[in-house]
């Protein structure tokens, strides 16, 4: 097993998953048809988001790991740094979005 490549693949897959969650959450708040589709897919919009986010992470990790791209040490550190920043930004964006949405700023 190529462990550094597995870590890079997991880090980028996690970043993609965080971006997906942020985008789908905000998009669904403004799009009734999307929220209805998410509800109808599994019976609850949050269950659908959970299923899609876990599936996306798993598939993206496997695809990136099996891709022919070679890794280098700097890329590994960069991927983990991006993951750290994405996590903090994702959490802040969601908190600010729901705060603004509650106060009807948008």
């Amino acid at each position: 097993m190529n462990k550094p490549k597995l870590i890079i693949s997991s880090a980028y897959a996690a970043i993609v998953t965080i971006i997906f969650v942020v985008v789908i959450v905000i998009w669904a708040e403004f799009s009734g048809p999307l929220k209805d589709w998410l509800k109808n897919f599994s019976g609850h919009h949050w269950t659908s988001k959970s299923i899609f986010s876990v599936s996306l992470y798993a598939v993206a990790t496997v695809v990136l790991y099996l891709s022919p791209n070679k890794h280098d040490d700097d890329r590994l550190k960069r991927a983990l740094g991006f993951l750290l920043i994405s996590t903090v930004l994702g959490a802040i964006i969601l908190a600010l979005f729901f705060t603004g949405h509650h106060f009807k700023l948008f």
């Binding site: 870590i7 996690a14 949050w46 959970s50 986010s53 983990l80 908190a95 729901f98």
Partner: protein, 160 residues
Amino acid sequence: MDIVAILQSKPVLIGLHLGFGIIGIDAFLWLLGKLKGDGGSRKSMVITAAIGVAAFIASWLAGGYYYVAYYGTLVKPIIKNGVAPWVHNIIMETKEHIFLFIIPIAMTVLFITLLKKEDMDRLRLRRLALWLAGTVAVLGLLIGAMGFIISATVRWGAIN
């Protein structure tokens, strides 16, 4: 009442959600200490991270079942009609979606622990691993604090 019915009851689901969440947070704080102090074997770090990941998955399943089965019909109306509807609109909405970040980040930390100590030092990953393990623990603690606010709001909403 059979065991399945007991496991599906509201207080047990909340207890499992919280209990497994605490185990997950503790595991990643423990891992943080191991990474910081360069203590313990690689095997012990892998086991600690794996316990953390498994606990967060269990917390997710128990909390998710409770949320889907009971929250919308029993809890949300009390909060929305109470003195602090913002607790659902801001705190619960943020909590339920930030939770989705935890497993991918925790899995990435688990994969980092698979590296040999000398590889982690050669790749200079210890500091980043420490930050990521800390981030998982802090996210868990934030989610726990949000859960406390939600529960308190329901109690006061029910009283008012």
